[in-house]
Amino acid sequence: MKSGRRKMLAAREDLVDKASKIAKSKGFTLFGMINNLLELSISAEIMGITLEEAVDNYSTIRAIKNASFTLVLESLLYDTADIAYQRAKEKSLKTWFEAGVWVGKHYISKGTGDQFATLINDLKAFSWNAPDFILEMRGTEISLRVLSPRFSDSYTLLLNRFLEGILEAFAYAVTFSEVGKGTIRMEAVKKEA
């Protein structure tokens, strides 16, 4: 914050009291906590999302972090994916497939509930480079579509294998697959136990 000047605003007493207790338990002042929160609200508003959604994003980041994802520059990812694919096609496809299986199993091991939908939702939330990431579920059948004009040929193929790895971990058999530069369409059905 650039200046230390403050203004006073009125808020519901019960909320102020509760928030004050929380701030104290976390070692903050109420002023510090409210201002952190308002800063977050303003940043979220600029991005066109609500404070609640910002908090949801935070939960997703933690999940993605625990699933061993890391951040890399998009253009660098495509360049290295292209080079790696040209140099060692089979090995690269295998690595991405195995990474998908690992991520899938990681989510499965996290507990009960629909971990597949949770994983896909987490991926959707942070696939900033894929504006169109759609999963449809109908009973035991799923349909997945990922579109991005920015994907390179090689990256699309590798991402497709990664997604196949996830499906494998969740015991889905791919029944239809169409992959082209920047386009992945896939249909799968749950394997019988």
């Binding site: 007493e13 004050s20 929160l37 508003e45 404070l51």
Partner: protein, 191 residues
């Protein structure tokens, strides 16, 4: 800290945030007081989920920066294998790319954050999850950075060192010392 009126208490808000809050209240068609109360409610919910507001806020800012700068998520094992495949013949190219990427990040941090060095530390701590330890010491006119990782490969360490050198360059610092070995980076720079 707070003053009482009928069923309400007065809370202090930093003057710098008033315009932003007023904008939110106009967009939503709600009073400023309602916006403040909603924020307090959210603070209570966040706390009940076991998070703290400062942490959420810091993560949000760092992720926003990554998004603006073209960051994407990839499984770390996949990234290691990509780097391993490209390194033998493309080391120089990768080093240049990581340095340039670092420069962009440094320039962004300088423009976007009031305390860019603190922001840089948060940036490493909150988004380089492969680092066990991040130390950024700011002295009179120099900065010392130390990063420790038990999982980084030698190639990954070198590229991260170049990325940090790039950030320093973007922050208008001149790197005076850059030592690295697998999993350890020590870098010093001056204004």
């Amino acid at each position: 800290m707070t003053k009482r009126t009928k069923g309400k208490k007065l809370v202090y808000i930093s003057e710098n945030l008033i315009d932003g809050v007023a904008k939110i209240s106009r967009t939503r068609g709600e009073s400023i007081g309602k916006v403040i109360e909603d924020s307090l409610k959210e603070a209570i919910l966040v706390s009940q989920d076991g998070y703290d507001v400062k942490q959420v806020s810091d993560y949000f800012k760092v992720m926003q920066a990554h998004r603006v700068l073209g960051g994407v998520f990839v499984p770390s094992g996949v990234l290691d294998s990509l780097i391993e495949a490209v390194y033998p013949n493309g080391r120089e190219q990768l080093i240049t790319r990581f340095f340039e990427s670092g420069r962009w990040h440094g320039k962004y941090l300088k423009e976007r954050f009031e305390k860019p060095i603190e922001a840089f530390k948060s940036f490493l701590e909150l988004s380089r999850w492969d680092l066990n330890e991040v130390e950024v010491k700011e002295q009179a006119n120099s900065i010392k950075v130390r990063c420790v990782s038990t999982v980084l490969t030698r190639e990954g360490t070198e590229l991260l060192a170049k990325f940090i050198e790039g950030i320093m360059d973007g922050l208008s610092h001149k790197t005076t010392k850059a030592d690295f070995m697998k999993g350890l980076i020590v870098l010093e720079s001056e204004f």
